[in-house]
């Protein structure tokens, strides 16, 4: 079976662990527990009759306490950049992490998701900022780990890009 390493990158408390848990176990907890270190989850998906085991590396959130090690990224087939729509600063963190990942991994597929769509009325990341990301060539999805919205689409989009290099439509809310 094909195995693919996918790293979850983003600032702290943007919902990386929640997205992975929602995808792997369909569970969500409102209680925020910070991730220290790395947790690797596995899930097998089938793309065009081909089973692919995803090894989802849930890395700790990037902030002044913890910086992502380049070594954790090595061997990744793709990565996912997660942002919290209610915090404008998480977009800047995602931009910085994308540069780190690109430097370490070269040109590998990545998808970004603006999480917490259930709180969209409180979003600080506005349409203009999203347009700027898309102008950089980013795939920007919207989702909510809490509601399960856009989660499947997120991972399928990544796998599809890994396997076939064809991105899905960019907006899934």
């Amino acid at each position: 079976m094909i195995q693919k390493k996918i790293c979850m990158l983003g600032g702290f408390a943007v919902g990386k662990t929640s997205l992975v848990r929602r995808f792997v176990t369909n569970v969500f907890s409102d209680h925020y527990q910070t991730t220290i270190g790395v947790t690797v989850e596995k899930k097998t998906v089938t793309i065009k009759d081909q089973d692919v085991m995803l090894m989802l590396w849930d890395l700790y959130g990037e902030d002044e306490f913890q910086h992502v090690r380049d070594s954790y990224l090595r061997g990744s087939s793709a990565y996912i950049l997660v942002m919290d729509g209610t915090r404008r600063g998480t977009l800047d963190t995602a931009l910085a992490l994308q540069q780190t990942a690109a430097r370490t991994l070269g040109t590998v597929p990545f998808v970004s998701i603006i999480n917490k769509a259930d709180l969209q009325s409180d979003w600080e990341i506005d349409e203009g900022a999203i347009e700027q990301l898309r102008a950089r060539g980013w795939t920007v999805l919207f989702g909510s780990a809490k509601l399960g919205q856009g989660v499947e689409e997120l991972f399928l989009s990544v796998v599809t890009q890994i396997m076939h290099g064809a991105p899905l439509p960019t907006e899934h809310v």
């Binding site: 910070t34 270190g37 790395v38 947790t39 690797v40 959130g61 902030d63 306490f65 090595r74 209610t86």
Partner: protein, 600 residues
């Protein structure tokens, strides 16, 4: 924590095993040939728990997280080094069969050409560090939420403030558009708002108002200030004060409605009403009802008032004609008061019943020794009235020699004291009055024609009271109030029957008689209302004049018709005709002559 030996090795050293137990570390050494990692020394409990009943002494990477596999497979510089170099993997989480998790950290190092892998279970120290990071991040998130909440509140309040400001601006614009004059005073009496209209009415410029005490700003007179102060501090929700006179560039009269602000009970809203026009109208009405000390608003009296104003503005001699008691001296005083001589003396002299020598002495003065009893030099009334007005009442009774002297004074503006030869210049305006028909006196030869023409340059004819009956209620009420005030009595009114009696009486003594009658009634009255029984007997006893035919003077042409009609009805009897018209026989005759009526 229990440990059991898995492999016989130099590391069976008890001290070495106690150290491993304390640190919760599993130590593996790589076999150079097979590449296997084999456990050294005692296995920690967590290793045994993962291995089941018979845990392996060889590290099976397939049973572990891809994290460890990648880490072990990586090309670590520490393994190539001779010794002393270590590389840590960083923490990762492993899940056991029961769904529990442990956090581990791997370290690779090389010692004496032996490749060592340590796997340490992160314990209390790690959890403490996790807790610190968790709290720090929770705090950052909480602060972020707080900042957003503050921002939201600030935005909401800013929006509310904008709406409030807009509403206030709209209300102010409406207020200004409606021209409502209003002030708002705070609990300390400071002005916090003033509409443009209020400022205009109060004669105040905008810049100096807000935040100032009303006492400093509103140009009240002293007594009005005290009244307003009392009203502002009164407990009632709504109070009315005024009218107040405002001294400003454009003097005005105002009334004030003072309300408590329903939003802030200690603030006051003062609505200013412009009463200037109302006050002016009232003044005009009052002037029409009275003129100086004259009372009456009948057309005849209004004509008299106008005539007085006219003659007051010139400095000519005036002849005031009217029956006794019609108020000839009051007219003279009114002319003087309305004239440019008002600041100078007004002297009245009654010329009736005096001998020519006494009258001459009174009017022109005398020199000591001029006649028996003239012990001092004495100035006369002309000199006493210097610069002012001399009123000569009953001039028709002046003896002929005095008439001659008067004529000289009027022509030459100089007098000569009795006993002196030197004339003295005088500047006196002469007003004369008589109840005589001086024209008839001239015909009879008792009055000098040239003097008549000299004093009759202007004429004021006062109508008898019976010719202006509509003034009787006003006069009666005016006298009632004045007499009550002087006597300390509280009589409110005249009964309708009393008024009817007063209106019906012919009043041969005119206004003077009316005043006496009211004085009599006030003395007699025991209640608060004057009844007919309180009036003098001659008024009560008189048969009422038919109310249908009170003689109200009209224009000359109408009056002539009325006189002729009365004569016709009386079959030429002049006494009867006069009675029918409610006038005296003398007046009737006079009016016949004046209107050039010659009955057969």
């Amino acid at each position: 924590m229990s440990r059991r030996p898995l492999h016989s090795d130099p590391s069976d050293d008890p001290l070495f095993n106690r150290v491993l137990s304390t640190l919760d570390i599993a130590i593996f050494e790589r076999n150079g040939r097979s590449g296997e990692f084999r456990l050294q020394g005692l296995a920690p409990e967590w290793w045994c728990a993962r291995g089941g009943s018979e845990p392996s002494t060889v590290l099976d990477l397939e049973q572990w997280s891809p994290f460890l596999r990648e880490y072990v497979a990586a090309d670590h510089s520490a393994w190539a080094a001779e010794s002393g170099t270590i590389e840590k993997s960083g923490p990762w989480t492993e899940t056991d069969d029961q769904g529990g998790t442990i956090t581990l950290e791997a370290t690779v190092l090389s010692m004496e050409s032996r490749t060592i892998l340590l796997i340490e279970r992160l314990g209390a120290g790690f959890e403490q560090m996790r807790s610190i990071v968790q709290r720090a991040r929770d705090r950052v998130l909480a602060e972020d939420v707080a900042v957003k909440s503050h921002h939201k509140t600030e935005t909401r309040l800013t929006n509310q403030l904008e709406v409030s400001e807009r509403t206030k601006d709209d209300a102010l614009a409406l207020l200004q558009h409606l021209g409502l004059a209003a002030l708002v005073l705070d609990e300390r009496g400071r002005i916090t708002f003033a509409s443009d209209r209020a400022l205009t009415l109060l004669g105040i410029s905008t810049g100096e108002v807000i935040g100032r005490q009303w006492e400093e700003i509103i140009p009240f007179h002293q007594q009005d200030r005290a009244i307003f102060h009392e009203m502002v501090n009164a407990p009632a929700d709504r109070r009315t004060a005024g009218p107040f006179s405002i001294d400003s560039a454009q003097p005005s009269w105002i009334e004030l409605d003072i309300h408590r602000d329903p939003q802030h009970q200690r603030r006051q809203i003062v609505v200013v009403h412009d009463r200037t026009e109302l006050h002016a109208l009232r003044r005009v009405l009052n002037e029409q009802a009275s003129f100086h000390d004259l009372v009456g608003k009948s057309p005849a009296m209004l004509r008299v008032y106008q005539l007085v104003r006219d003659v007051a503005s010139v400095d000519t001699t005036v002849l005031i004609e009217g029956e006794t008691g019609t108020g000839k001296e009051l007219i003279a005083r009114a002319i003087h008061s309305a004239s440019g001589r008002r600041e100078k003396p007004f002297i009245a002299a009654n010329c009736a019943g005096l001998t020519d020598s006494i009258l001459t002495s009174q009017l022109f003065g005398h020199r000591r020794g001029a006649f028996t009893g003239a012990v001092n030099d004495q100035q006369g009334l002309f000199e006493a009235a210097e610069g002012g007005t001399l009123f000569l009442d009953e001039i028709g009774d002046v003896p002929q020699p005095v008439q001659t002297a008067l004529l000289r004074v009027l022509q030459e503006k100089e007098i000569t004291r009795l006993g002196e030869a030197r004339p003295r210049k005088v500047d006196v305006r002469v007003l004369a009055a008589t109840h005589h028909n001086l024209s008839e006196d001239v015909v009879r030869g008792s009055f000098r024609a040239d003097l008549l023409y000299r004093i009759r340059i202007a004429r004021v004819q006062l109508p008898p009271l019976r010719e202006r009956r509509e003034d009787i209620p006003l006069l009666a009420h005016s006298f009632l109030m004045a007499i009550c005030a002087a006597n300390g009595k509280t009589i409110d009114r005249l009964s309708p029957e009393t008024l009817h009696r007063l209106m019906s009486y012919v009043w041969p003594g005119n206004v003077r008689e009316l005043r006496s009658a009211i004085e009599f009634a006030v003395i007699s009255c025991k209640g608060t209302e004057v009844s007919p029984a309180d009036l003098p007997p001659e008024i009560v006893g008189m048969p009422a004049v038919p109310t249908l035919a009170p003689w109200i003077p009209l224009q000359d042409r109408d009056e002539k018709s009325r006189l002729l009609a009365a004569l016709s009805e009386a079959k030429g009897n002049r006494t009867e005709a006069a009675k029918r018209l409610g006038v005296s026989r003398a007046t009737f005759y006079r009016r016949l002559v004046e209107l050039d009526i010659h009955p057969r």
